[in-house]
């Protein structure tokens, strides 16, 4: 009996173009499984962004529009509202990196949450700008070395990183906000449940749902995939705690 198979919502014959050991693949697989389990593949419209997350449409068998850098939540708002104006309730989600969601697009992200826009945003937080070769981003941890913070992130030059899931949780229109990681099986299961919950909350029309996925970037961190997961487990989860920060249905 087959107990594991490729999620149906992943395109046949497609191969992820991410680097070896990159958590983007894991995250996309989870999103695809959730789409399968909720049986929403035919009703879902995905919004891709700029950065490593851009090729979403090459991997997922759902309708997809690319958005300009940072504007995914605004584009998703347009998609969702336009369908609603025709009495079609579609499931709309964005798949963005932390640079896209929390730096260049922070305005669009926060305001979508404040409006309680009934969409889901998935944000891959790998603490740097991965596509361009690992520069300092909004989520780069204090002391972390990147190509534009050669002596480590410091207060004097760079200031502090953003705790995205915590900020989104503060918005009244947010129905669900959580941070998850993918460094072991237990966390992968948990991440999938959280992503599922986010989509379910959208289905129920509860408002903005958000999952920040603490992810590895082995290439730019210059660590092996395994050591990258160790770094997340031992260091980054101390900076970015794994937690549900807001859940309107559970206190």
């Amino acid at each position: 009996m087959q107990v594991y198979a490729k999620p149906k919502s992943i395109k046949e014959n497609s191969s992820f173009t991410f680097c070896s050991g990159c958590d983007h693949g894991l995250a996309l697989k989870l999103v695809a499984s959730v789409i399968d389990e909720l049986d929403i593949q035919q009703d879902t419209i995905a919004v891709a962004s700029s950065g490593c997350s851009v090729f979403l449409y090459n991997f997922l068998e759902v309708d997809c529009i690319e958005s300009p850098h940072g504007r995914a939540c605004a584009v998703a708002t347009g998609v969702k509202r336009a369908h609603k104006a025709r009495n079609n309730d579609k499931i709309v989600f964005t798949y963005q990196g932390d640079g896209d969601f929390a730096s260049i697009g922070l305005g669009e992200s926060i305001h979508s949450a404040l409006r309680g826009e009934n969409i889901t945003a998935i944000c891959i937080n790998n603490t740097n700008y991965g596509m361009t070769g690992g520069q300092l981003g909004p989520t780069t941890a204090m002391g972390q070395i990147t190509t534009t913070s050669p002596t480590g992130r410091n207060r004097e030059y760079h200031g502090f990183p953003i705790k995205t899931a915590e900020h989104i949780a503060l918005c009244e229109g947010t129905a669900f906000s959580a941070r998850v990681a993918l460094y072991d099986i237990k966390n992968i299961y948990n991440a999938k449940n959280m992503i599922k919950k986010a989509f379910e909350y959208q289905k129920k029309g509860l408002g903005f749902s958000f999952v920040e996925i603490l992810s590895s970037c082995p290439t730019n961190w210059k660590l092996s995939p395994s050591d990258s997961h160790k770094k997340i487990k031992e260091e980054l989860t101390k900076v970015y705690p794994l937690k549900v920060f807001k859940d309107v249905l559970n206190g």
């Binding site: 068998e61 997809c64 529009i65």
Partner: protein, 357 residues
């Protein structure tokens, strides 16, 4: 609504948009076009249509981008310096082939400028303010009735060509009231079921994107867009001619200036000067061929604009004959008065014809 009523330009645009089937509006306030958003906020909520007070013009145009991908009829409106903020998404919309109607009720620039009258956005609208090879269709009304009619046409052309359309009005048109009729929408509905994103039901998933790593495909896509622009240039040119049949001198002017220039033509006709007016209604596609035809029998063109001569370059490009081209204009401030224009034109005529005698 099928009787003439007194309408303010901004309201005429908004009401005509609704009448043309606009389903989604996204906007951010800026003078002198704010009434468009105010009017629609009430009317669209009443009809359960999509209306968002966006957090910025950048968000507004990107919401429009998303909404347009569903095949809906979408509009946003703004003014000069804030339309500058929208240029990135307009470039995307052209590459993605998404129909969006963008209303620009012009004010003075550069930068923040002020709410003074100006026609300073001709270049930005017709030559593109964003990156890459692309073209936006640009319609230029000169009366409140044309605000109504061209808004309808903008929605139609946007859907027909899957391309953004800019309605380039100005503060004068936006703020003035005159009698106009909003009739039933005369344009046919365009079927967009072959490309819109409405869920991959009984068909493969669709994707809309501008990113294209394949050099071959990217080249081909841009060449295909060029073919579309050629088709637009061959089919959608529109202009008004006033007393051009026997004219020796033709004034070229668009929008509000085109309307004011009619008075100038009347003045010279009274004095026996054979003058006419050529007013492009589509700024892109520019009526280049017709202007070229006229140039073979006209001695002088006088281009009048509320800017430093932006359409002037297109007029010069059109004219291959020995006809001379003069310019009358100023960048911002009160609209050029009839007397100011006449004084300037008197001087031009004096100079031009002094040499001949």
């Amino acid at each position: 609504m099928s009787e003439k009523e007194l309408l303010k330009g901004n309201i005429a645009i908004a009401a005509s948009a609704l009448n043309s089937g606009c389903e989604c509006y996204f906007g951010y306030p800026i003078t002198p076009q704010t009434e468009i958003g105010e009017y629609l906020s009430y009317e669209m909520q009443k009809r359960n249509l999509a209306y968002v007070c966006a957090e910025s013009e950048i968000a507004a145009i990107n919401m429009a981008l998303g909404a347009a991908s569903t095949g809906a009829k979408v509009m946003t409106s703004s003014s000069s310096c804030a339309v500058s903020l929208m240029q990135e998404a307009i470039s995307y919309a052209c590459c993605d082939e998404l129909p969006i109607v963008i209303v620009n009720v012009m004010r003075a620039g550069p930068g923040q400028g002020y709410i003074y009258p100006s026609q300073g956005d001709y270049n930005q609208s017709t030559k593109g303010g964003g990156n890459g090879d692309y073209q936006v269709i640009v319609l230029s009304p000169s009366s409140v009735q044309e605000c109504v009619d061209l808004t309808s046409r903008a929605f139609y052309l946007a859907q027909k060509y899957r391309n953004p359309v800019i309605l380039l009005a100005d503060g004068m048109l936006g703020q003035m009231a005159e009698p106009a009729i909003i009739d039933c929408n005369k344009y046919e509905e365009i079927d967009n079921s072959s490309w819109r994103l409405d869920g991959a039901k009984n068909r493969p998933a669709r994707e809309i994107h501008s990113l294209e790593p394949s050099q071959l495909k990217l080249n081909q896509h841009i060449l295909n867009l060029k073919k579309k622009y050629d088709l637009i240039e061959n089919s959608e040119v529109d202009y008004e001619e006033y007393m051009t049949d026997d004219a020796d001198i033709i004034i070229t002017a668009f929008g509000t200036m085109g309307r004011c220039a009619k008075e100038v033509v009347n003045h010279y006709r009274m004095q026996g000067v054979k003058m006419g007016l050529f007013r492009p209604i589509t700024l892109y596609p520019f009526p280049l061929i017709r202007l070229r035809e006229l140039s073979y029998r006209v001695k002088t063109f006088i281009d009048i604009e509320m800017n430093l001569g932006q359409m002037l370059k297109d007029v010069q490009l059109a004219i291959l004959s020995n006809a001379s081209v003069a310019f009358v204009g100023k960048p911002v401030g009160d609209w050029l008065k009839k007397e100011e224009m006449i004084e300037a034109i008197d001087n031009i005529i004096k100079e031009q014809y002094a040499g001949i005698r």
